[in-house]
Point group: C2
Chain length 114, copies 2
């Protein structure tokens, strides 16, 4: 069997995400694609609604995820508390550079557009 | 309205592809993702089965597609004849470097893994 890291975008959805200690902490709901460059700046995780106000998206910068072939999943050093403490998104966050900047600051990574 | 090029991977599927002369020549069926790097090496187009032998995948190197915001679609200089003359894929082409090399040679682009 060949060892390949190329799969259909559909099949990334649902891939598990693990903490450094091996605990499963969630899964990827879908990816965001930069239509121009063909880069994937974010993986998005969904959680239940906050205080019953409906569902929110929790985008995580792609570079915080490392693919682990043995686990067939992504490992991250992001904690649940970090995700829960991240700047709140809304439906229109795509391309809201102010929000995106705060998100990258929160996760201490350089913006993908720099 | 903000001009953003970031959208959900689900929504890239179905995006139209146009020739340089503006003719619609197909649409994107799905994307391939490099699970490690978060790059998109290919967009895949489906056509009907060839001689009734079933459906084949027609992967096209991403860099041959240019996103056109006015069209909300991709423009390419690849012709239908080029796609039809491309090396034949099979179900197991993902990670078949020999096939991928021939595909990139066919489209005169440098392999994404170089």
């Amino acid at each position: 069997m060949t060892t390949t890291a190329i799969i259909s975008s559909d099949r990334v959805n649902g891939t598990n995400v693990y903490a450094r200690d091996g605990e499963k902490i969630g899964h990827i709901d879908h990816l965001m694609i930069d239509k121009s460059s063909g880069r994937v700046p974010y993986a998005v995780r969904h959680f239940g609604g906050f205080l019953g106000l409906g569902e929110e998206e929790y985008p995580v910068p792609w570079e915080k995820l490392t693919y682990d072939t043995a686990k067939d999943g992504y490992v991250t050093d992001i904690t649940r508390e970090q995700v829960e403490g991240a700047p709140r998104s809304d439906k229109d966050w795509h391309g809201n550079r102010d929000y995106e900047q705060r998100l990258h600051d929160h996760y201490l990574v350089n913006p993908y557009w720099m």
